[in-house]
Symmetry: C2
Amino acid sequence: MFIKLSKQSSLANLAVNGVTCRGKVLTLDSMNPNVRRVEYAVRGPIVQRAVQIEKELREGVKKPFTEVIKANIGDAHAMGQKPITFFRQVLALCSYPDLLEDNKFPEDAKKRARRILDACGGHSIGAYSASQGIECIRQDVARYIEKRDGGIPSNPDNIYLSTGASDAIVTMLKLLVCGEGRDRTGVMISIPQYPLYSAALADLGAVQINYYLDEDKCWGLDVTELRRALNAAKQHCKPRVLCIINPGNPTGQVQSRECIEDVIRFAKEENLFLMADEVYQDNVYAKGCKFHSFKKVLFEMGPEYSSSLEMASFHSTSKCYMGECGFRGGYMEVLNMDPEVKAQLTKLVSVRLCPPVSGQAMLDLVVNPPLPDEPSYERTAVLAALAEKSHLTEEMFNTVPGITCNPVQGAMYTFPRITLPQKAIAKAQEEGQAPDMLYCMKLLEEEGICLVPGSGFGQKEGTFHFRMTILPPTEKLKVVLQKIRDFHLRFTQEFS
Amino acid sequence: MFIKLSKQSSLANLAVNGVTCRGKVLTLDSMNPNVRRVEYAVRGPIVQRAVQIEKELREGVKKPFTEVIKANIGDAHAMGQKPITFFRQVLALCSYPDLLEDNKFPEDAKKRARRILDACGGHSIGAYSASQGIECIRQDVARYIEKRDGGIPSNPDNIYLSTGASDAIVTMLKLLVCGEGRDRTGVMISIPQYPLYSAALADLGAVQINYYLDEDKCWGLDVTELRRALNAAKQHCKPRVLCIINPGNPTGQVQSRECIEDVIRFAKEENLFLMADEVYQDNVYAKGCKFHSFKKVLFEMGPEYSSSLEMASFHSTSKCYMGECGFRGGYMEVLNMDPEVKAQLTKLVSVRLCPPVSGQAMLDLVVNPPLPDEPSYERTAVLAALAEKSHLTEEMFNTVPGITCNPVQGAMYTFPRITLPQKAIAKAQEEGQAPDMLYCMKLLEEEGICLVPGSGFGQKEGTFHFRMTILPPTEKLKVVLQKIRDFHLRFTQEFS
Ligand SMILES: Cc1ncc(COP(=O)(O)O)c(C=O)c1O
Ligand SMILES: Cc1ncc(COP(=O)(O)O)c(C=O)c1O
């Protein structure tokens, strides 16, 4: 018997003894090549191995540890953070409105639930909403933005609710991508980056333009570097979009006002659409750092900018003090968008009908929580605790020879640089693996700690990092830091 | 002052008195052309006008009616249907677990909520879940499928939870589309179709291959027509996918077992990936009709088929007896998928992190509701009432001269054919409008009833239809039918 590839068909179709035996319709070779190119490290092979190890532990397999600590993702509740009572009361009331008769629920929670239900079809969160999101929730979002930005007006018509910020970011990128060959849309993203961006760009077949954050300057952003990246890219694509994450993921920097002004000037000069990912807007810890929204700075730069720069900014229920990731709530605000394009955007989002209504309800509470003088006001210590943990992490890592760590000014992650012995680098290369992947895999196997290698986010050639969330409870975080320290010393010794 | 188009730039960049004043980055001309081509009639201009009219009514504008009846979409709760108590109790318990201490909730609801919470990170539905969906819910889905299909095994690893069926359908199509020019993937869809399909194909730049359902045979599907469409398409693309909606939207037909067998044989012969949209699997009303899942029929056709035909089937929390659209729960089951492709699919869904966890919880309840001998069992009259309304609708429409209506065998819609006077057709053409759009717009303005014109779903050239959901409560449905009858007669007269 001989097997040969039949000529007129793909690799998947084999001719066996002359009889064509058809292979699969859908194979690696015949699937969407853009999807194949997508990478998403935050939930990549290392996380899959972590899940496997957890299974093995449950099945009684002996390991040098008793639990896997998943510090790979910014998922506050998974790390034990408790939800805000009021938020969940309102969600329960919306889910099961019979509870509106129950005396146990505070009046303000009931009032809020009634307002949301009144805005739902048939007074049920089980009805589809308008595709752009429930109108009164978009109004609340607009008021939130106005308050945040010191009164700069926000128009609810410019607000699009979404299935988490991820959804809105992907939708906005999709709208922006066009052209072929040298005319293909180029999108500037920071390196290191949150891999949603590179994944979405691969999926859309857009050109990814890397600009590098400066590790030596606290992961700062410099317009000279933006310009370098842009000019290089102009040789092979049409740069049209600039994406900024502030506060930064994975790098934790918080941009200064001056830096934001520079970025806005650059975007205007170069005729770029600005995408401002501000999902960590409440997560600022470092002394002297403050969150400035791109919109506020834009408006304060005067009408020359505020009336022309096209931008979208993104927010989410997943981060900040509430960490309600599972609800998949989020929004974007678009500014200076061509009305015809806005109509196209509205059409595009209508294809998937609507974002989850419970996520919309959660967003409503997040943008409009009870005030200090209202009965359900709840002082949450989450942000203060995160600030403490950010300092703890930086200090601890910087005591370890071979680890250097910038301050975690904001967001929820540390992205320390690790020095790896030459032998480890050589071994990884032999195995066709990124050296920091080898490091993280070994850490997972030996200590049960799941991190994401820096290679998953992009980093300067020849440098190595990992990303760790600072979300574990303080006592657990201390243990994690100690374990990583021990591991790092052991690893360095093993490969010297 | 003169304005002229500058040479080197797009229409959007105008040169005013020699000074280039840059236009927008993002315009109709410079946006993603695939997105521009997307159409989505179910939420199109007619629905936007309906929302406007509602606003006008609230503002006191006088109209010949007092409310807009939105019969354009299959949204049960918006039409006044009440949710299943047990489902909402469990959702409330999951949202606010303090209620687990409350005696008012039945034990089985508490048990179910505890099981779901135990499967969530940190016991909170506010944590991200696995991207493929929570494992124990995927197990429940697999058991549901096994039970539905008389014991044919279902593997939880083949189940992907999703943000409504829409999300899973788009994801699956995305995976399947590749090639350029004559090698571009062709996807066969029924005409009339649910416009999610044409929209997703336009977005992906895939080739839409239309096969026509036979209105004279109760919107039946004939393999001869499939073959005709396929052969014609082979001239200009690579047909790789066959999409079937059963029970049908907008056409309401329920496929016979024989027809399904024919389709499966055809798909196998022609090496097509089969996508079976079965979101209306519980919605079967006509005597002699029964829902047969494609999977069950596939397996009953023997291993020659069941071990090779690649397919995905889709289900949703939005339809059937529960109509929980707002939760955006859904799943797909993939069969015979290449394991490497499955890994790619898992990677792809991980980019958006996870489907909404409350939607996943809702899905868990839908696939595993309380049984008749359990305390929270609730007999719902929804399906019986829908059956009654399906008959009522068919009968009523068929009494109107110029309207002919197939039986609504299943799903939630009627798609009657309307005869339009030549003058009306001419007027619409003058205005560059589809004649049935003119008809539906006029109906909306005069009677406050919002339907979707047949042109939004596709129809045989020269025929006209509208789609109406049969979901309104019986008394209201009668009013709607009467109003449409009156309008139709008036319209016919007006244009004769
Ligand atoms: C910078 C950034 N943007 C967007 C997201 C997406 O968040 P979600 O889709 O949960 O709202 C994340 C999540 O980690 C993020 O870190
Ligand atoms: C045939 C069909 N498929 C899929 C869907 C999508 O439903 P959902 O995304 O709400 O699950 C619908 C909704 O009307 C439909 O009619």
